[in-house]
């Protein structure tokens, strides 16, 4: 290759780089593939974003592909990342599952993108690995707490409980009125964990360094009274006979229907259930309210929060600039507006400048005070510690069905956690 040719080539490539750089500012063109999980809200939101983005950039074609959620979805994401067949942009969990897909090798860092300035630091921390940020929030934040049926509360003249004793007193009143006080749905075993997981705000209130000590194998559920309370709360509710008669066979979908239609008064659940209520029982959406799982003191009443899923860009994408621009659009106030329009609001956004519409359902507006000034919230344990035992749901089903007491369940869970911590190679296990 001669020198002139080389210089010409360099000139051409610089020109090309300049052109792509200016294209980032202006309109985008090209082809973008997206892989999204098959939750109806995820699909509807992603389709709305794609439509809005295409309206702004008419030369872009976007292909949305759908994958299952849960364990099958984990396999698909990992397989496609490992074989280099991943879509340009994809949605996946944040937190501990995000760490499991080998982000430093498989994902494109988004640390220096302009949109990250508007993303809350608490979210960035759960999509970071090796000093780089890899994700943008895919959905609003969620809270774990207790859904309640408003008509039942009005009929019996009950107040929203701020302590556990008040909550149990409400349960007693509801039971005496001949209604189901607490809905449990053990056909979907994961739903059994809410009493323990949503209690974590109360754990942190008493033991602010529980997460670090837990990760370092210094604190245990069985020997930390505040952490054991979550197990005891489930046991108390179970022993008092507040559950629906079919709690062993009911599914999550049943639980959602029951809380909406007043077949039960309380349902401990994550706030994403608002979306499920809006789909299966839209007429009853205004009958459902929400409160944080109460602790033992009324002054210190706060919400345990869950970080939303995230969107990532695959490292081997053919069009990184387009992918980054699309992700930036998702994490912008316009992106939030599009989401509000498409599926409604399910919680507060993780992006600065995002507004909730005025007419949010009561279960969402009940959640907002915990996020505002003066409100109190804390992330769930799974966002503070990589240690989460796989058998928690089965252990808690045992507690809920009365075949194991809280203390031995907590001890068994500590044992379950040990295996996982050793697999992760943590120090001190």
């Amino acid at each position: 290759m001669t020198k002139t040719k080389l210089i010409a080539l360099m000139g051409a490539s610089t020109l090309g780089m300049l052109m792509t750089a200016s294209a980032v500012q202006a309109q985008q063109s090209g082809y973008l593939s997206i892989l999204v999980d098959n939750g109806p809200q995820s699909i509807a939101t992603m389709e709305a974003w794609a439509e809005a983005y295409k309206a702004m950039n008419p030369d872009v074609t976007i292909d949305i592909e759908v994958r299952p959620g849960g364990g099958e979805g984990d396999n698909i994401v990992k397989t496609r990342l490992a074989t280099g067949a991943m879509a340009d942009v994809f949605s996946y969990n944040s937190g501990s599952l995000f760490q499991a897909i080998n982000p430093t090798q498989n994902l494109l860092p988004l640390t220096d993108e302009a949109f990250q300035d508007g993303v809350q630091d608490s979210f960035k921390s759960v999509v970071s690995a090796g000093g780089e940020v890899y994700g943008a929030p895919f959905a609003p934040a969620m809270g774990g707490g207790i859904f309640y049926n408003k008509p039942i509360y009005e009929e019996l003249g009950l107040e929203i409980p701020t302590t556990w004793d008040e909550f149990m007193a409400n349960n007693e009143a509801i039971k005496e009125a001949g209604k189901v006080a607490v809905i449990q749905t053990y056909a979907d075993t994961w739903t059994s964990q809410l009493f323990v997981l949503s209690d974590f705000y109360n754990v942190l209130a008493e033991e602010p360094d529980f997460a670090e000590k837990f990760t370092a194998n210094e604190a245990k559920f069985a020997t930390t009274p505040a952490a054991l309370r979550g197990f005891e709360k489930l046991q108390e509710v179970a022993e008092a006979g507040y559950f629906n008669a079919d709690f062993g066979a009911a599914t999550y979908a049943d639980g959602v229907r029951m809380i909406a239609m007043g077949e039960g008064a309380h349902y401990p659940m994550l706030t994403f259930a608002v979306g499920a209520i809006a789909e299966t029982a839209p007429d009853y959406l205004d009958d459902v309210g929400f409160f944080a799982q109460p602790g033992d003191s009324a002054e210190n009443n706060g919400l345990t929060t869950w970080m939303p899923d995230s969107v990532y860009v695959a490292a081997n994408t053919a069009s990184p600039d387009l992918a980054k621009d699309f992700v930036a659009f998702i994490a912008s106030p316009e992106g939030c507006d599009v989401r509000n329009e498409a599926v409604g609001a399910t919680g507060p956004y993780m992006v600065a400048g995002c507004e909730l519409p005025a007419d949010v359902p009561p279960s969402v507006s009940d959640m907002l005070p915990y996020f505002q000034e003066g409100g109190q919230n804390a992330p769930a344990l799974e966002f503070l510690s990589p240690v989460k035992g796989p058998a928690l749901e089965q252990i808690l089903v045992e507690v809920g069905t009365g075949s194991r007491d809280a203390a031995s369940a907590a001890a068994l869970y500590d044992e379950d956690v040990r295996k996982q911590a050793q697999q992760l190679g943590l120090e001190g296990w």
Binding site: N38, G39, I76, T79, G84, R257, E279
Partner: protein, 275 residues
């Protein structure tokens, strides 16, 4: 007396069949007629309104008419793979049964290994990518053929043993070349076991879920079983649409079965008499 017991036995068999096969199917049909709210109850009840047609339209139109693409893809995959399976398995089975060499043991071991060793997903995808076959229909067809070939070979090999060698010899004496012997004499005689193969393999391949899920990514490559994921997700399921979808994709295997039903029974008895 004897007559009465046989009537009772027959009635019990019919009742058992009804409970095991017909009631679930009625449940599917009932669910397909309900709206979303009623279907969320998942009980065995009459639909409160007639929603079947809206459900069908919704299911077929979902995700940009994905159902149509899926039916075309699944039909191509099923028809081509079953054709290849029948031809190759019959050939291998015929040679294995007729020609005794010292390699037979090894070959039979490899066939059994194909039946027993579970295929690994990621290495298979790497191989497909190397051959430029990943994410293509013909790649998927080759995978289905490879995974199902051992089972078909074993069926054919056992059946070829029941065909008298004299027929081959007579054909050769009459001047048939080796391919003529196979295609004009032996293959037609294998019809009963071919029907069994067609029914078993086409239902299996048409209903295959995990293989297309991993080996055939992309919207354009959807197969019918994957359309179920349009309505069923981890936290939320539209049961009315899910069951409408199930109803629609159950029809083709049902037709295959009804079409071949007489032949299957005939084939079984024919094989039994020959013994």
């Amino acid at each position: 007396m004897k007559k009465r017991t046989s009537i009772l036995g027959g009635a019990a068999a019919i009742a058992a069949t009804f409970v095991v096969f017909v009631i679930p199917f009625i449940f599917i049909i009932l669910m397909a007629f309900k709206d979303r709210q009623q279907s969320a109850l998942r009980d065995f009840s009459l639909p409160t309104g007639f929603h079947f047609w809206e459900n069908v339209v919704e299911v077929v139109k979902t995700r940009n008419w994905m159902m149509i693409t899926a039916f075309i893809n699944s039909s191509i995959i099923t028809v081509v793979s079953v054709t290849l399976l029948v031809i190759f398995a019959a050939m291998v089975g015929y040679v294995l049964a007729r020609r005794k060499t010292r390699w037979n043991g090894l070959i039979e071991f490899l066939v059994l290994a194909g039946l027993m060793v579970p295929p690994a997903v990621v290495p298979t995808i790497w191989l497909l990518q190397g051959l430029q076959l990943f994410g293509t229909l013909h790649g998927m067809i080759l995978i289905e053929v490879a995974y199902n070939l051992p089972f078909s070979i074993i069926l054919y090999r056992a059946f070829v043993a029941t065909i008298p060698r004299d027929l081959d010899e007579a054909a050769i004496i009459d001047g048939a070349r080796p391919l003529d012997v196979f295609f004009r004499i032996v293959l037609p005689l294998l019809w009963p076991v071919t029907v069994t193969n067609i029914v078993v393999q086409s239902v299996g391949i048409f209903n295959d879920f995990t293989n297309p899920l991993y080996y055939l990514p992309g919207n354009a490559n959807a197969t019918v079983q994957l359309t179920l994921y349009n309505f069923q997700s981890q936290f939320s399921t539209a049961y009315n649409l899910l069951f409408t979808n199930i109803l629609l994709i159950t029809i083709p295997p049902l037709l295959v079965f009804m079409f071949f039903n007489r032949q299957i029974v005939a084939g079984m008895t024919a094989g039994a008499v020959k013994g």
